[in-house]
């Protein structure tokens, strides 16, 4: 009961943030430039009548404040308007197609970065090697300046072009009998008990998720290093050991304490991750909303751009909510 209320309160707190971002996006995309339709069509030589017709079709002829509320209301109902460029194409269905791909990539990337970060921390804490630690620290503080497309292309060069063991792009090869259910292919393959599809989907995921995962692993490495060592040499761990608790159990209990700052950080990490996803997807032709955004940017499809950016705002808000809740679940000291 308490938890539900906590979720509700936290949930309402993200609404103003999303509203501010929506307003910002609206101002930036609708008020700053000239006529968006002209920009989208890339020409000024268009009959007045036709321009008016298109504007009316897209709802752009109404006063701005009406557009502002109408768009928001429609958005919340799942109607994100029509594409300016590909006429008659609802943006919502485009995004519904692309979102699972982005979700799959980001989840796998977080996993990769957690494995790298927590694994390094664990290794250092266990070995107590100063050289390993110094290396890990330098690695952790410089890895985030790697330019994602550069790293991604370098990996493609080695593993796809020279070694030819991994695909260069896309999400899956055509595989017989594989029909996506959720759109998250690795999950779908598991649900359908289709090992070939799973391996294939995974082989497409390896390079993109390592690229993105590596770049965002830096903060995790630092956090894990600092915390695991602090926790493992804490009085609490001494006390556990003094009571004859098995070492495996001690480590498991200690690990929860390392997890708390990592969970908290994952919320902050998400904004880095989203930006990184756009670049990773573009580099690997990964058909997610990042690639979609870049596509639409190239065609100046304002309605689509606006929708994608709002989706990102929702994802960020939602993540911070999830992080808060997970944090409250792990740490009993948080009252809800």
């Amino acid at each position: 009961m308490g938890l539900l209320r906590y979720v509700a309160i936290r949930g309402t707190l993200i609404i103003p943030t999303i509203l501010i971002l929506y307003t910002l996006v609206f101002i930036v995309l609708r008020i700053l430039p000239g006529n968006p339709v002209l920009a989208a069509l890339g020409t000024k030589n268009i009959p007045e009548e036709q321009l008016k017709a298109i504007m009316a079709e897209l709802g752009l002829d109404k006063p701005l404040y009406i557009q502002y509320f109408e768009y928001l209301a429609n958005f919340l109902r799942g109607d994100m308007g029509m594409s300016m460029v590909v006429r008659g194409r609802p943006i919502a269905s485009d995004i519904a197609d692309k979102l699972p791909a982005t979700l799959e990539l980001t989840v796998w990337s977080i996993l990769v970065s957690l494995v790298i970060g927590v694994g390094t921390g664990y290794l250092v804490a266990k070995r107590r090697s100063r050289y390993l630690e110094a290396f890990a620290r330098v690695f952790g503080s410089v890895v985030f300046v790697v330019f994602i497309p550069a790293l991604g292309l370098a990996l493609q060069l080695v593993f796809s072009s020279y070694l030819k063991i991994l695909p260069t792009g896309g999400r899956i090869s055509s595989i017989e009998g594989f029909k996506p259910i959720t759109g998250i292919y690795t999950l779908d393959a598991l649900l359908e008990l289709n090992p070939r599809a799973f391996v294939d989907a995974l082989s497409h995921l390896v390079l993109p998720s390592i690229t993105l995962g590596l770049v965002i692993s830096g903060p995790y490495i630092r956090l894990a290093l600092n915390n695991l060592e602090a926790v493992m040499s804490s009085k609490m761990v001494d006390a556990y050991r003094s009571r004859g608790i098995r070492e495996a159990k001690v480590v498991r209990h200690a690990f929860k304490h390392v997890l708390i700052p990592i969970v908290t950080y994952t919320g902050l990490q998400f904004s880095l991750l989203m930006g990184g996803a756009v670049l990773t997807e573009t580099t690997f032709n990964w058909p997610g909303i990042g690639t979609y955004l870049v596509d639409k940017v190239m065609y100046r499809d304002y309605t689509a751009i606006q929708a994608v950016i709002l989706i990102f705002a929702f994802i960020v808000g939602l993540t911070s909510l999830i992080v808060d809740v997970v944090y409250a679940l792990i740490d009993p000291r948080v009252r809800y």
Partner: protein
């Protein structure tokens, strides 16, 4: 049961740090009778806490026990396999740490930590729960404490929980490492009274590690004074009060505030020794008011000056 529950023979502990070897505990020996409370008294850096860890055979890295034996009922804890050691810890020898705020896991309920501990020593779930309830009550805590998370308890309550766990498997030896230092004055007395109670009730032997000579003289049967990793003086409490031999013990005693005394108590000038480069000869000589040439040159051995009264000082006979 004849003999002793715990015999420590010639124990040496060193820390191999990057800035040099720290000689933390040097040649400590003592015996503990059943039901006895031994107080180990010393300033910070005297090696008393390291001694406590060494008795559990859990000296943290880069520390190492380089020599000696810790015989608990005849078995040497320093030669056990990790698994054997694990079984001994908490069940035959247990420890209560200084700061109850940091020793309980804040993320888990008391009952989970308590029963996990008991089950790691072979009790089944139902028995563990029964024992946990019994001992929570025995240390004067209401039953709801078990269902609480540590942050919902006061410092005194947490320390009671720690004591309850430490005694619940009826170990032969309980080490209490500064058990009251982190607590309020009133709670300190309650906790020490509780320790006295359980000691009588369960006839367990206690080793009280403390910096407070007054507390030691008030509560313990025997007192061992440590300085710079060495034992300075070791005697029954009554014997010690009657006949303090070592200049360091006397200095500690002089520094206690006393009833009816005017002005401030005297205190010992100087600093504890740097155990990376311990002084030559007697470790105490740089601060000793009686130090002579021999003290700088030669390490005094712990010698029996009267029955059960040991002193490590070249001039122990002269003093007084």
């Amino acid at each position: 049961m004849p003999g002793h529950v715990l015999e420590v023979e010639d124990l040496w502990v060193k820390y191999y740090t990057l800035s040099g070897v720290v000689h933390a505990v040097s040649g400590v020996s003592f015996k503990l009778r059943r039901g006895e409370m031994l107080a180990v008294v010393g300033e910070s850096g005297s090696g008393k806490s390291t001694l406590a860890y060494a008795l559990m055979n859990m000296v943290p890295k880069p520390g190492k026990i380089v020599r000696g034996r810790v015989l608990l009922g005849g078995t040497d804890l320093l030669t056990l396999t990790p698994e054997e050691l694990r079984r001994v810890r908490g069940s035959r020898i247990s420890i209560v740490f200084q700061d109850p705020f940091t020793t309980l896991d804040p993320l888990r309920r008391v009952v989970d930590q308590f029963t996990e501990f008991l089950m790691e020593h072979g009790l089944d779930k139902a028995a563990a729960l029964r024992v946990a309830r019994e001992y929570t009550e025995a240390v004067g805590l209401p039953g709801r404490v078990l269902e609480s998370y540590p942050h919902q308890l006061s410092g005194g309550q947490k320390q009671r929980v720690a004591i309850a766990m430490a005694i619940s498997l009826n170990p032969e030896v309980v080490i209490a490492d500064e058990p009251t230092t982190a607590l309020d004055v009133i709670v300190q007395k309650q906790i020490m009274d509780l320790i006295d109670d359980v000691r009588r009730k369960y006839k367990s032997s206690f080793i009280l590690i403390t910096h407070d000579l007054a507390l030691a003289l008030e509560r313990a049967d025997t007192v061992m004074v440590m300085y710079g990793g060495y034992v300075m003086e070791y005697a029954d409490k009554s014997e010690l009060v009657r006949d303090m031999r070592h200049p360091y013990t006397r200095a500690l005693f002089e520094s206690l505030p006393k009833l009816g005394q005017r002005g401030l108590p005297s205190f010992l000038p100087g600093y504890p020794p740097d155990l990376r480069n311990p002084p030559s000869g007697c470790v105490f000589h740089p601060r000793c008011p009686l130090a002579r040439e021999k003290c700088r040159a030669e390490l005094p051995q712990l010698a029996e000056v009267s029955k059960g009264h040991y002193v490590a000082c070249h001039y122990a006979g002269v003093v007084g």
